[in-house]
Symmetry: C2
Subunit: 331 residues, 2 copies
């Protein structure tokens, strides 16, 4: 089986290396006989590899570049498995580029540890009033502001996947009272209760803090609208580690400026990068993280390759692929 690992030409920190692949193979217990890996970072090597490759592991940016805005299937007649090394593959829609017979996978699970710690940090920052303190600092103003511990505070988490579920587990350890919100309201061990997305409006008025950790799909685009932000109690805080367009960013800025919200920590935006001179750079009581909350360069590729090999083992055994991405559902 020919497995091609392709990195964007300008990538350095996250480029996939033969050493990472060999280490992952050694960890995996997967039978390496018959596996043949190639590595590339330019268009010519991509085209050459796609003639024989049965599996492709690459950053979504590679696919965006190769499809070049079109919706025709990639010229990769033998491709069976594609792992795009991101959890949210919304950028790759529509999915006509995927060759017939190939299964698309994301790398959900890669981001759990880092994103969960980032989310816990963001909740602690809201509890301590750090966003307002940073605004004070920017103004050169010494202003006492008192915070509180997390215990007993109400957290609403949108999305209970790797990110939201992991964050909820850490927040619960600090005594937060957590309501989870997801499409299918199955119970979750870290949540006092889980409600369906349709019941969102009924739980927002109780949220001291709101954590957005869901993928961007047609169902979640604009989910946290201006009207829903207004349902949060005065002084609540917001964290977004999902995707920018889930949240009405302009309404959030208004609520921060008016004091309706006490603070926000955002890792995702619409658009990204935030353009120079954009309102977000000046809005008070906001912390901007440049969409890096979920990625730890020291572990990212290793975990992604572990995920690929676990899915390869399942595929060889004729089992369902744990990381199969459903283009219709969007995650």
């Amino acid at each position: 089986m020919h497995i091609h690992l392709h990195s964007p030409a300008d990538e350095t920190l996250f480029a996939l290396t033969p050493a990472q692949w060999q280490a992952a193979l050694a960890r995996s217990g997967v039978d390496a006989a018959g596996l043949h890996a190639t590595f590339g970072a330019d268009d010519a090597s991509f085209a050459a590899a796609m003639r024989t490759a049965e599996a492709l592991i690459c950053d979504p940016a590679v696919i965006l570049r190769q499809r070049d805005g079109g919706d025709a299937p990639l010229a990769a007649p033998h491709l069976k498995l594609v792992l795009a090394t991101s959890a949210g593959l919304d950028r790759l829609a529509p999915y006509g580029w995927l060759p017939k017979g190939a299964t698309l996978m994301n790398n959900r699970g890669t981001h759990g540890a880092k994103a969960s710690e980032f989310a816990l940090m963001a909740l602690l920052m809201l509890a301590s009033g750090i966003p307002a303190m940073v605004s004070d600092q920017r103004a050169g103003r010494w202003q006492k502001r008192w915070g509180h511990v997390l215990a007993g505070r109400h957290l609403v988490v949108i999305g209970l996947g790797t990110l939201g579920g992991g964050a909820a587990a850490l927040a619960a350890r600090h005594g937060m009272v957590i309501t989870g919100v997801r499409a299918n309201p199955a119970p979750h061990p870290a949540c006092a209760r889980v409600v369906a997305t349709a019941a969102l409006d009924s739980v927002l008025p109780e949220a001291d803090m709101l954590l957005i950790a869901c993928p961007l799909t047609p169902a979640t685009r604009g989910l946290i609208s201006r009207a829903r932000l207004a349902l949060l109690p005065r002084g609540a805080g917001v964290v977004n580690i999902g995707r920018g367009p889930v949240l009405d960013q302009d309404a959030l800025c208004d609520a921060l400026e008016s004091g309706q919200l006490s603070g926000a920590v955002l890792d995702v935006f619409d658009p990204e990068p935030i353009p120079p001179g954009h309102r977000l750079w000046q809005v008070p009581n906001l912390i901007i993280s440049p969409h890096t909350s979920a990625d730890d360069p020291e572990t990212y590729n290793a975990i992604s390759l572990d995920i690929f090999l676990a899915n390869l083992a399942a595929w060889r055994a004729g089992q369902a692929l744990p990381n199969r991405f459903d283009p219709a559902r969007g995650y």
Copy 2:
């Protein structure tokens, strides 16, 4: 026994109230027979109460005002117990104001939960690169910065009391490898090892992060000097929740400006408030918290009064007072 609870005249959020006292009494199990509490917030009521009070509970600011820069004992002939509602009583030195026969107590223990969460937050902020992100934000600059999880990182904690010990416990839960530093290097359950302050220079070169959580005493003033900051590896981060003068603040600013340190989160400064126009307001990769890391207004007085009543019970039983403050030692 006459117990007087006095608050600064301008205090609102942290003023001690009869309702708080009654609630604490009810929680304590202390026999309330013979206990008589008075409350005051002005000089006349203080002077009147001190004629008969055997116990005083007050903010250190009250004592500073009543001693008025002098070193004569307060005119309080019956005073036996004084609880100053702060953990660090360095501001009250020298202690000639304390009437003969009265024992001074601090409220150490009050700050554990809030300060520990603040310290964990600060360590997570350093791991995610938030101080540098805030500098980017201030400059309107979108700049990818990658962080990492806490697991496996080396933390050196100066001081293992309520603050440092509590913070170490939370950091250990996230997999940090912790070296504690204190006067008496007894083992600590959260620390891989504990060394004496005299061995500080040998452990600083291994610290990814340094957390200062010790009281200000003659032995700790200037402890984290310019030379010691230079022992930290390039890219290390610093948190100070102890006292400002423990750290050479100017050397810290230099190290942040040069990039020798990657970031810092400071809750304490020298002087406080930070004066307008001070260098600290402009130094990059620094987060300023206005000395509020340890105080949760919703729980502060309740915990302080619980501490007083626990000490009162010990005093009635002829036992050592758990919160006795040793003026000679400084904590």
